[in-house]
């Protein structure tokens, strides 16, 4: 039985997603024990980095909805699908055994950088709130090779590839032209009637420290959290946001944070 993490990195003119995925993969190698640290990268860019155990060429539509192809591309029997702009900061290998009774599991436990659970839908999720959708974050999605996972990702693919039909039928007038991946995940879970099987708000894990500014419970809105808070990485690959030590999966959002210097520091930490 193989298991591993799956990352998609499709570079755009503005963002080097391969570099973000590289940082993520390095953080996995630093923090996860053998047997729980395999990383597969799906990309359309030539990659020569040893942090990736498997590099899979991507052929298909570009953009965020590439993650809808996760089931098709994964080389593993058990997979955790991640966003590229995330960093591991502690051993999370025990999560595999916590979810292995399930075929599919999507986290619903975002938190602030001060470790406060974000218990409401929040500023960015008005569509979720209005429709009472499950508050899923595809940034950490576990699935195994199973019929229900296959059905789920096939449906996500259908939704993201045919947004107009689903918007007209389910959320007319919502103002969207495309259906983002989190929204597509929520819709697919509802349509397949597997919300209770694939989510568990009571579990409160795995926690994702979500750095979108408007969920930080601040008095005023700023567009870039890094204007307000320092980002510091030490020689062991550990991170502080401001004066707060981070230990959970860090979804740093701000892509520009990952510089060559950060990559070198993570390599040295490894």
């Amino acid at each position: 039985m193989s298991r591993g993490y799956l990352l998609f990195a499709l570079n755009t003119d503005s963002t080097d997603y391969v570099k973000l995925a590289h940082a993520c993969a390095l953080s996995i190698k630093i923090t996860q024990p053998d047997g729980y640290n395999k990383v597969a990268l799906v990309t359309n860019t030539p990659v020569d980095e040893s942090a990736f155990d498997i590099v899979i060429p991507y052929i298909g539509p570009l953009g965020m909805d590439a993650r809808s192809r996760a089931y098709d591309y994964t080389p593993f029997d058990e997979t955790i699908l991640l966003d590229a702009d995330m960093l591991f900061l502690k051993d999370m290998s025990h999560y595999w055994s916590l979810v292995d009774s399930k075929d599919l599991f999507v986290t619903t436990a975002p938190q602030t950088y001060k470790s406060k659970l974000i218990t409401n839908y929040g500023h960015y999720r008005k569509l979720f709130a209005e429709n009472k959708w499950p508050n899923v974050y595809n940034a950490w999605t576990y699935f195994r090779k199973a019929d229900i996972s296959n059905q789920f990702f096939s449906l996500v693919k259908t939704i993201t590839d045919n947004p107009a039909e689903f918007i007209d039928a389910i959320i007319p007038g919502c103002g969207l032209n495309t259906i983002p991946t989190d929204e597509a995940f929520a819709l697919a879970l509802i349509i397949l009637d597997i919300v209770d099987d694939a989510t568990n708000p009571d579990w409160q894990f795995p926690r994702i420290t979500h750095m979108k500014p408007a969920v930080q419970l601040w008095d005023s809105y700023i567009s870039d959290w890094n204007e307000k808070l320092r980002f510091s990485l030490d020689t062991k690959g550990q991170i502080k946001i401001g004066v707060w030590q981070q230990t959970e999966l860090l979804h740093y959002v701000k892509k520009e944070l990952i510089t060559d210097e950060i990559i070198d520091t993570l390599k040295d930490a490894l």
Binding site: S115, W218, S220, G242, V243, Q245
Partner: protein
């Protein structure tokens, strides 16, 4: 194991010594533990001249701190502001100075009217501190959770600290001393004003560091007491209750009357305490 209360008081523009006598009398009455005073010769001479007897178990004489802080304090509903001097930058020396194994440190403007704090003498935490203050008139605007800065840490109040003498607790007090010495650096790091040294901030930073920079809370928590800020003043004093009149800071023409019964109270308006010291001493 010996246990007792410790109060620091150094007179300046405010008669902290008399406040300490009152606070000690109330602590001794309601908690039933000995209370010791840490003070300087001039302050002790002053209170000896003002009171027939002093409620202290021990008086520990030290030099008055060389660093003097100033701040403006409002005198109740009159909104009259006074520049006052306060000398409390030596709170970190409580660990070395206390004569007790388990010590409750209180501010001299913290008036004890209940035995609630007695629940904590046997607490398994070696170090407990007040996590907030309940301001009855600010609740809708600012809850008990005070912060050093919106993006920084929550503020703890050094108004009440209970500790046992252990190597780990010694580390905290040493850390507070270090933060005091490097106050400008820590003010920059934790994003608060370096203008005035505040024990509250130094202990808040020390506890944050002791928590692994926010990963696991290290300190225990004492109960959140009622806070009457300096826009409030004592209006009436009875054996079991204090009545305050307070000005609404968000609607200046509004005033509130409130009664506080069998509650420990942090009274920031020192002028009001001192103006009523004789009546308050009768409660002791």
């Amino acid at each position: 194991m010996t246990k007792g209360c410790l109060i620091f008081a150094h007179n300046g523009t405010i008669d902290y010594g008399s406040q300490a006598v009152l606070a000690a009398g109330l602590a001794s009455k309601h908690l039933g533990v000995p209370v010791s005073l840490v003070s300087d010769i001039a302050t002790v001479d002053d209170i000896k001249s003002k009171f027939d007897s002093l409620p202290f178990d021990q008086i520990i004489i030290i030099n008055k701190p060389s660093v003097t802080n100033y701040r403006y304090l409002t005198d109740g509903v009159t909104s009259q502001k006074h520049l006052i001097e306060f000398n409390n930058s030596n709170r970190n020396s409580a660990y070395d100075l206390t004569p007790y194994d388990r010590t409750l440190v209180i501010d001299s403007d913290f008036l004890i009217f209940s035995d609630v704090l007695n629940q904590y003498w046997e607490d398994t935490n070696d170090f407990l501190i007040t996590p907030g203050m309940y301001n009855p008139f600010e609740e809708q605007y600012r809850p008990t959770e005070y912060i050093l800065n919106p993006s920084s840490i929550n503020m703890l109040w050094a108004t009440n600290i209970m500790f046992s003498k252990t190597p780990e607790v010694k580390l905290v007090f040493d850390l507070v001393e270090h933060i005091r010495e490097e106050y400008v650096y820590y003010a920059g790091l934790y994003e608060f004003s370096p203008d005035k040294y505040r024990n509250d901030f130094a202990f808040s930073v020390a506890c944050h560091i002791m928590s692994g920079h926010g990963t696991n809370q290290w300190h225990g928590e004492l109960p959140v007491p009622v806070l009457y800020d300096d826009n409030s003043e004592l209006a009436n004093i009875r054996s079991d209750q204090l009545t305050f009149v307070s000005k609404d800071q968000h609607s200046p023409n509004n005033y509130f009357l409130s009664r506080c019964k069998n509650q420990d109270v942090h009274v920031l308006n020192k002028f009001s305490i001192l103006a009523n010291i004789q009546s308050l001493m009768e409660l002791v």
